[in-house]
């Protein structure tokens, strides 16, 4: 059994190595450049006010940020009035700014005045294709049902999204589906798709030479950029709140598009663009935090391993006993196996979002704890199932022999049954570990760090080298885990079980 202790100690090391500090405010941003830049501006302002700040960037989707803001896992993030109306308060009458402000007050949230630009949705396509077909307005699309329309998943779901748009303009296009927004540009450029949703200040409009189709019927509402923050911030960091509010009306569409272009076309880090904006317009000097590749890869690795190891260790502590119970109580076997099976069928991104609120009761951190809990839940099935199968697979003769020796239940379990089932149990743990290494990249979706962070950032910036920074080590890690288990097999599986039987 002493070998099990070695394993236990090995499992704990990364957990000790990565203890996190608590910042005094957290800024969130969505998974597109503009949102990250606007959040970086707040981060730099906070720094200039001496407030410790953490920017949890590139979170996947409005719902996620909204939940995180309500749960207090982030304090402030940039948002658009149209998004609040159409997505958060859909069905409520919050037509003017005052009504919206009141609706937000119910949640103890405050919205700044517009920052100065209206980043409404526009429908876009390649300039040359539009010219060739003579398409200028959204209405013109009606005469071209052969065009392939693909919209961001968010746009497909929104109240003012595709379905409302199609009704408004009587668009005949069939088989219109959702697509990750960052991939849509690539597809548009390659001609795989023809029409997609864009933002008014999108840098890609310049980069990919896109034309924005006119919205004759004024279908899209205003998407004025604002900051949304928790009311308690006014008492906690009043200086920062007034600094944020001083940005109201300072960022117009041209300036925002410039900043987007700096990041997406010139490859500047968002932090440097934000610092440049503050220095230029407000005379505030802050230090830009440029990414450093080697240091970052080390950090991603530590975070990724931390997630995988922690979730796996917790899953083993829960799943092996559950498997033991399932193997010994026939009436509990089906409920237990069924339950962990159902967990497995929850889509991973939905699970991450669902976990935000419950997890916030235990931790005020966003990303890491949710990712660990999600990975923990996904690890249960292979371990529970293999523990159950391993124990049930012990031959009746051996079971009877151990019973006949007159050993108590727990000694039989510990000295005979678990060692006999060890190989099968370990196979389940290994499956869970390899799956976890892959699944953990989805942590990038909710700001958990790890290899998912560069992958998601890379997709957002359409920058392959950044994607590879996450994808290559993740693949290597999966191989390493696979290999590492050969060693664990040697540690844990009794020698007698690895021998080929003689005559």
């Amino acid at each position: 059994m002493s070998r099990l202790w070695i394993v236990a100690c090995l499992l704990c090391t990364p957990a000790i190595a990565a203890a996190a500090e608590t910042p005094s405010i957290r800024v969130g941003s969505k998974a597109f450049t503009e949102s990250v830049v606007l959040a970086e501006i707040v981060a730099h302002l906070a720094e200039s006010k001496g407030v410790a700040v953490e920017h949890i960037e590139g979170l996947g989707g409005t719902r996620l940020l909204w939940e995180a803001l309500l749960a207090g896992q982030i304090d402030v993030y940039p948002e658009y009035t149209g998004t609040l109306r159409e997505e958060i308060f859909a069905g409520e009458s919050v037509d003017d700014a005052e009504a919206l402000r009141e609706a937000l007050a119910r949640f103890d949230l405050v919205m700044t005045k517009p920052l100065g630009f209206n980043n409404t949705y526009v429908i876009g396509m390649k300039e040359d294709l539009a010219a060739e077909r003579g398409i200028r307005t959204i209405r013109d699309l009606r005469d071209h049902p052969d065009l392939i329309l693909r919209f961001s998943n968010e746009f497909m779901m929104r109240a003012d999204g595709w379905h409302a748009l199609a009704r408004r303009y009587h668009l005949p296009h069939a088989d219109v589906r959702g697509l990750e927004h960052a991939l849509a540009y690539e597809a548009l450029d390659k001609g795989v798709i023809h029409v997609t949703d864009l933002y008014a200040t999108d840098a890609k409009v310049r980069k990919l030479r896109l034309c924005r189709l006119r919205d004759d019927a004024s279908h899209f509402p205003n998407y004025d950029a604002v900051y949304l923050y928790r009311r308690e911030l006014e008492t906690r960091t009043p200086g920062l709140v007034s600094a944020i509010r001083s940005l109201e009306g300072w960022i117009d569409e041209d300036r925002m598009m410039d900043m987007n272009v700096r990041v997406e076309l010139d490859g500047w880090p968002e932090s440097r663009v934000a610092a440049g904006f503050l220095a230029e317009t407000r005379g505030i000097d802050t230090r830009s935090r440029d990414p450093r590749w080697f240091r970052d890869v080390v950090r991603y690795t530590v975070e990724h391993l931390h997630m995988v190891v922690l979730s796996l260790a917790a899953a083993m502590l829960v799943a092996i006993p559950l498997g033991v119970v399932a193997a010994n109580r026939e009436n509990l076997a089906q409920p237990i196996l069924g339950l962990v099976g159902i967990i497995q069928t929850i889509p991973s991104i939905a699970l991450l979002v669902l976990l935000i609120r419950p997890v916030s009761y235990f931790s005020d951190e966003l990303g890491f704890p949710q990712a660990v809990v999600a990975l923990f839940l996904y690890s249960l099935l292979p371990i529970v199932r293999n523990t159950h199968a391993g124990l049930r697979g012990i031959s009746p003769q051996l079971r009877e022999s151990s019973l006949a020796l007159g050993l108590p239940r727990w000694v039989r379990l510990w000295r005979i049954e678990l060692p006999l089932a060890s190989r099968t149990i370990l196979a389940g743990v290994k499956t869970a570990a390899v799956i976890n290494v892959g699944f953990a990249t989805l942590g990038g979706f909710i700001g958990a760090g790890g290899y998912g962070e560069p992958i998601f950032t890379g997709i957002r910036l359409n920058n392959y080298s950044v994607i590879l920074q996450g994808a290559v080590p993740a693949a290597l890690l999966a191989l390493l885990v696979q290999g590492g288990f050969e060693f664990v097999d040697w540690l844990v599986v009794p020698r007698g079980l690895r021998l080929k039987p003689s005559g």
């Binding site: 022999s401 006949a404 080929k500 003689s502």
Partner: protein
């Protein structure tokens, strides 16, 4: 030593054992014999409390066997099954000393007992550090016997202990086993389907048919005073090999 009183046991709708009364005498070898499915192994398991009877009582040394005391009482019984039932993840030594270690025997006491058993069973002592997969069938059966005898039980229960061995080895082990039984003077209950083996070991033979005792007595009685036609039929079916064993004492 072991008394079964009016024992019945069903598996689903099939009746494994029906109204059996049996008294296993101390210090002697009792052999349970009969065609497959006659309930002989079930009877052995009932004696160990590995299964519970639907009706009737099992007494061990005068004490009624219950789920509460079965674990304690089993330590006074040694159990050997057909293929040995050794745990493949433990060495021969660890298989033998598993229970002794749980009972916190001293190392000296364990090693002393192992030395006695190695001598008794003619097991090569260097084999103690091998795993079951590294031992021959005969060696595995010797280890199984050592494991059963480790705590010096009052009773030895054996379910077809030599059944999986080839005839040559089986013959040698039969001789050795009988001399072990004689040397120890223990109560032995053995299950076999082989009348020759039953006659070779058994002070008393219990012939079972469909869960009931057809006849209990010596081999001589079975041969010469069969209780009913089934006994004659069973005996005749195995008559040929008996020419050899009937002559031996």
């Amino acid at each position: 030593m072991i008394q079964l009183h009016d024992i019945s046991k069903r598996y689903g709708s099939a009746c494994a054992v029906q109204n059996v009364d049996l008294d296993v005498a101390p210090g002697r070898t009792t052999v349970l014999i009969g065609p497959s499915g006659c309930g002989k192994s079930t009877l052995l398991r009932l004696m160990m409390g590995l299964i519970r009877p639907d009706a009737g009582t099992v007494r061990f040394e005068g004490q009624a066997l219950t789920p509460a005391n079965a674990m304690q009482l089993r330590r006074k019984m040694g159990y050997v099954i057909q293929d040995g039932g050794l745990f493949p993840h433990l060495t021969a030594r660890d298989n033998c000393t598993l229970v002794a270690r749980y009972l916190s025997w001293s190392r000296d006491r364990m090693e002393g007992r192992l030395r006695e058993l190695v001598e008794l069973t003619h097991f090569p002592s260097e084999g103690l550090n091998r795993y079951p997969a590294q031992l021959s069938g005969g060696q595995r059966q010797r280890v199984s016997l050592m494991r059963a005898l480790m705590l010096d039980p009052d009773v030895l229960l054996m379910d077809e202990p030599l059944g999986a061995l080839d005839p040559m080895i089986r013959r040698n082990l039969q001789e050795e086993l009988r001399s072990v039984f004689r040397a120890l003077g223990k109560t032995v209950v053995m299950v076999t389907h082989d009348l020759a083996e039953a006659g070779y070991f058994g002070d008393a033979i219990v012939l079972l048919r469909r869960g009931e005792i057809a006849q209990a007595g010596s081999l001589h009685e079975l041969l010469h005073a069969p209780a009913d036609p089934f006994v004659t039929q069973f005996v005749n079916a195995q008559r040929q090999p008996l020419v050899v064993s009937e002559g031996t004492p």
